[in-house]
Amino acid sequence: MKQPIYLDNNATTPLDPRVLEAMLPYFTEKFGNASSRNHAFGWVAEEAVDYAREQVAKLVGCTEKEIIFTSGATEADNLAIKGVFEMYQEKGNHIITAVTEHKAVLDTCKHLEKLGAKVTYLRVKEDGLIDLAELEAAMTPETILVSIMYGNNEIGVIQPVKEISAIAHKHGALFMTDATQAVGKIPVNVNEDGIDLMAFSAHKMYGPKGVGVLYVRRKGPRVKVTAQIDGGGHERGMRSGTLNVPGIVGLGKACELCRLEMDEEAKRLSALRDKLESRLTQLEESYVNGNRENRLPHVANISFKYVEGEGLMMAMKDLAVSSGSACTSASLEPSYVLKSLGLSDDLAHSSIRYGLGRFTTEADIDEAIAITEKAVNHLRELSPLWEMFKEGVDLSKIEWAEH
């Protein structure tokens, strides 16, 4: 069976064969526990972890001691937000985040609200960016943390991280960012960006699943988080649990490859993405969602009006993409990210996210364009809304039976 073209690299990326090669020995002959201090098996594992820590630190411009290995970005988000809330409760209980954050941040904040946190959820503008004046206005003396993602997973917009961290710091709060979609794709430097805590994950940058990082600043200021998993005191006491040595080795290698190849790769991907977008927006009534200036190079989110996203994906079975349509989620609600841009529900239902990656070729994009055009045209032939639109019926004037 021919595999579909994979354009869902925001969900996960394939493992780079070079990463796999680096990992393999650590499953077999180099199987030691990195905490075993008294024999060669442990030393070999520890050395590999130390080396990976350097590779990771180099990608984001920090020191090795500031890298805490976790099971992924979700755990890192939890550790950062819950850990700061616990550690800094004498200073205050106010956290600021945004409505377009990943659920790992939003649900963590909701959890903390039950434990007495006050959380402000900033709205975003039509282009997906937060309003800096609104952030400034939301800051209070009790604000301990501002948590705003770096690049959005659904629409790819990049928040003005430097400006956000400056506002947080001016008011004495820490700045945390979920940079899962950004690290390895665009230059991220914790010092230039003023980041105090940062979560990211290996499997979004051609590394393995099950391993991620929380960056925790050590100097200016020295940031502390309360551990959320207790045990052997690994990772400077912030995250106990035997280190996932093969995973960490893979993460390190993935970071190194991204660092070396990022500039050219970003250029290549944004050219492919632009081609995809310019061709698909030639279809009538199709719209690009989100800010087109400040965004990740590999993401395109397009709404094809009058066709429904899940139905469309079914017609594009040779393409692996995702949709903001309700039908693809358990909740039957369309994407909250798209809705928060002010997109009407019907446009959110009609959206497709294309996530390009390292192994996406120009031929893939040409085929994706052809498949999408054919599917959109086919489904519009089936769509009563398209027929009404073509007849000049104003759909907003119809009394729909909401169900």
Partner: protein, 137 residues
Amino acid sequence: MAYSDKVIDHYSNPRNVGTLNKDEKNVGTGLVGAPECGDVMRLQIEVGADNVITDAKFKTFGCGSAIASSSLATEWLKGKTVDEALAIDNMDIVEELALPPVKIHCSVLAEDAIKAAINDYRVKNGMEPLVLEKSHH
């Protein structure tokens, strides 16, 4: 989510896609659902002299299950009398297409569309509209 073979068949080869002249007296049109909810079905029937449905057409904006449900409905409608058509239950569609629980609303919408089309036909021909139970989805 994996679709059943029957959903895929109706989705890939939808039966009776199209438009009947809604101004004809013997054509009943049902338009149900809402764009905001991600599914809109338009189902039309053409009724012959002996109260038999001689043609049925649909167009649907929605997911694969919604398209398959309406395609199947048009297939079942043809050749039935209007009274027989009223007896079509959404659970028959669920069973035939093996719809998972999360897609049951698609079958409910198809049943609503059938009833709405029949009511449109009845009103056009001087009959009282049937009082329909408000379906819950």
